[in-house]
Symmetry: C2
Subunit: 153 residues, 2 copies
């Protein structure tokens, strides 16, 4: 996939999130982009990624932090409304890739790792795959996410 | 330790975070409390916990979300300034205890799990223990965190 964001200021050519497009791109503005991670264990797994290279949340200005978490919250609300998950997991870790990105993950009591973190030990196999258990397709879910991100509310 | 917060409205008597005080209590206001988790592997591990029983971040009103993340950010900045960690990890999971709480964790490339998540597989033993590697005592670090939380800036 074409790395669409490398001409921005604040890009680190050694950073995979600056230079490579991973996942399914859904939406972007000048400061943020949202993708769906393609994880078979956790199909409803989205990321809000800073378009500039910044490692830590606290490096943002207050309105940037508010904007970032508003995007996270919009995605979270779509996942809750559409999927009725057992829990939403939010995280900004960045140990592997120190470029600010928020994980927004719908978790279910039947999923492969629940109640462990997605980074923890697998608890079970999910017969038929996790994706088949969602009440709508990922295309439909993505469309709801994009609509929420575009909303001016 | 005395469960100090059980008389508030919005308390779930079945919820451990509503009814039990865990960790080292450092600061609170009417809506939030901050503790230091007592984790020998991750000594610089703080939590911002909602004082009312709410499961998901998106259940908060916008100003409540901003306030919550401002507290998280204040702690993060103290950890960066005082410890110069390799990375800060932020997370609100709640799979085990579905009561909103944010983990704020200073991570080091030498710590027991780095670069894995703290919920992931252990990578190494830390000779002498992690706490001994910090450049200041936990009492001193706690004092800096409390000062940052009390600040009106």
């Amino acid at each position: 996939m074409t790395p669409a964001f490398v001409s921005l200021p604040g890009v680190d050519p050694a950073c995979v999130l600056c230079t490579q497009a991973t996942g399914v791109p859904l939406w972007q503005d000048g400061a943020w982009r949202v993708i769906r991670a393609e994880d078979p264990d956790f199909p409803a797994f989205y990321r809000v990624i800073a378009r500039h290279h910044v490692a830590e949340f606290s490096a943002l200005l207050a309105p940037e932090r508010t904007r970032c978490m508003d995007l996270v919250c919009r995605i979270e609300r779509v996942l809750i409304e559409q999927l009725r998950p057992t829990k939403i997991n939010l995280a900004a870790l960045g140990n592997m890739v120190p470029h600010l990105h928020w994980h927004v993950i719908a978790r279910f009591d039947w999923d492969s790792h629940f109640p462990q973190a997605v980074w923890g030990p697998r608890q079970r196999e999910v017969a038929g795959g996790a994706r088949a258990r969602l009440p709508l397709s990922l295309d439909e879910l993505d469309a709801c996410v994009v609509e929420a991100l575009r909303s001016r509310d």
